[in-house]
Symmetry: C2
């Protein structure tokens, strides 16, 4: 019997945020890949594209015209998943056919009027303006009586279902707390009630001691590969102090967040020297008017790529039916990300 080595032997790791295990198979990283590859095209985009429905002054699909905005611009999604209307509903209880109407608001946030930019290519001060708008939107939407949760996120790259390269994110604000957020909240709460402290604050302390999985750190934020990450290059951005939500951040903290987002997404782009796809989004306290001392602001980055710009990790089959599985270990990914420059490969050339 050889003794266990986490760099060589299959093992499971525990995710305390979701109370779930994941499967890590470090020995599998070198299997040959004969499967589907992604199209990798890197066209230089124009600063303004007359066919883009997100550009300044252009027509949207519903016939409305965007203002001649510069900087950040927010509007209601023309094809939202939610509706503001309050509909009448009589709750016919049924064991297996349980449903209820869901009200909400979907918004689109253009990060810049410049069609050709992405977060890593924007100035930190301009990313700070995006953070300002996230804060404003969280406040504005969250103060609506019927909105109890505000989900802020970005899908970047066509491989992540993003249908327009214009730099933008989304907000889905709604009456219910969504499944994954609720599960996270329950686990944060259990920990808080047991220990009287924030799970992520205590976790961050340990990670900063060990230093193995830290990718970036500034005055107010840390970006790390979680011990229980499932995507090959998954990271989490956590505030050093326990802020329950984005409202609690000062101007200088918002700038720190902007800076770490710029550096993290720059490292991502530098990894395979492409515009790096991901879904990213904020987890923070719901806007349900209750007290939430258990919450601790953090942002998840879920990038799909595995080996190179063209080969992604397929979360299928075993993963859909049984459990998330990864090949490369979180520590290996963290090391690779640590060693990448925070100077963008395009500006480098």
């Amino acid at each position: 019997n050889s003794s266990f080595n986490q760099k060589k032997h299959p093992h499971r790791r525990y995710n305390p945020l979701l109370d779930e295990w994941i499967l890590v198979s470090p020995q599998r990283a070198n299997r040959p890949w004969q499967g589907q590859t992604e199209r990798v095209t890197e066209d230089q985009l124009p600063a303004h594209d007359e066919n883009c429905y997100l550009c300044s002054g252009n027509l949207r699909v519903n016939g409305e015209k965007n203002p001649d905005y510069t900087g950040v611009y927010v509007f209601d999604n023309d094809f939202g998943s939610l509706m503001k209307d309050d509909v009448e509903f009589s709750d016919e209880k049924s064991d297996f056919f349980t449903l209820k109407p869901e009200r909400g608001i979907n918004r689109v946030i253009c990060f810049s009027e410049n069609h050709s930019l992405t977060l890593p290519e924007m100035e930190a001060d301009d990313i700070k303006k995006v953070v300002d708008v996230w804060q404003e939107q969280y406040e504005e939407l969250g103060s609506e009586d019927y909105i109890n949760h505000v989900q802020i996120f970005e899908n970047r790259g066509s491989v992540m279902g993003c249908s327009n390269p214009h730099p933008h994110g989304q907000i889905w604000a709604q009456a219910s707390i969504p499944s994954t957020v609720l599960k996270t909240q329950e686990n944060l709460k259990k920990y808080f009630e047991k220990n009287g402290s924030s799970l992520l604050e205590d976790y961050l302390k340990r990670e900063l001691e060990v230093k193995e999985r830290i990718v970036l750190e500034n005055e107010d934020f840390v970006a790390l590969v979680p011990f229980w990450a499932i995507w090959p290059y998954e990271t989490m951005v956590v505030s050093k102090r326990k802020a329950e939500n984005i409202l609690q951040f000062s101007d200088s903290e918002k700038l720190s967040l902007a800076r770490i987002l710029k550096d993290l997404t720059t490292k991502y782009d530098n990894l395979f020297e492409i515009s790096f796809p991901y879904s990213a989004g904020i987890h923070q306290s719901p806007t349900d008017g209750k007290s939430h001392p258990e919450w601790h602001f953090h942002m998840h980055f879920y990038p799909p790529l595995l080996r190179n710009a063209a080969v992604k990790k397929f979360m299928v089959g075993y993963e859909m039916l049984a459990e998330p599985q990864r090949d490369i270990t979180p520590e290996q990914s963290a090391e690779i990300l640590q060693n990448l420059s925070v100077v963008h490969y395009k500006s480098d050339k």
Copy 2:
């Protein structure tokens, strides 16, 4: 205020198997799609491909030679995610860095020697032989002392990460019960303890009364679109009687299973007249030697396509961070699947 209409208004539905909600946005089905499309190529494949490492008599990547098999052929995966080795492990308790070694066995099941076939194009009698092997493998692997769960599944199509079109599935057998299976088990158990009956048996009864979501039915099995389905054309195949696992099926029940699998996958192929991609797999009682009266054999089909052969549903952003979301309702999908022929489009021409 208009009154609630589940065909028109956004709502959430409850999934009792996972104790989770999903978001349904029927009003969103008609939004225009400018995003990524999949490559759709339908080459006629040869019955034997000398470059295929799964074909009869061919060399595998590790240098071993496949026997000249006909019918079903099983072998250990050359690049498995698990290892059989028993490694020494001293459990150093650590709050946030909890891991444990995981032992297991990965196998590949070739469904046929014929490289050009797929399940819907095979004879029911030949699919029955695949079901026989699933049964044998569940028994053989499950009787290993350290194997407590046997996950049988198939990834079909390159869009589902399947790297070889040769008809095949996989088995991942392991020491632990994987996260999603464990969650399902907990909910089945809660229901069984409360009601003294199988959740899926009672659910099936209701669905067979309502008939709205039933796609196929034969003597022993039903295929339906679950009320809480998340993928556009997701289905579940459930045994009419509460069998805890595949061992309990008689020869005629196995043939019924083969027949419903043939008809279901034929309908899938006929939907867009392509070889229809999906991940499918069996959920059944674990092989942990305990009694599991709560379990009820079922098989999930998770197909990624949404509008046509080239446009899939992207489970990204909101879905990864917050909650699964679907556009077309389960009832609309069921109706479309109901109306499709069980004669394969290729044999029709």
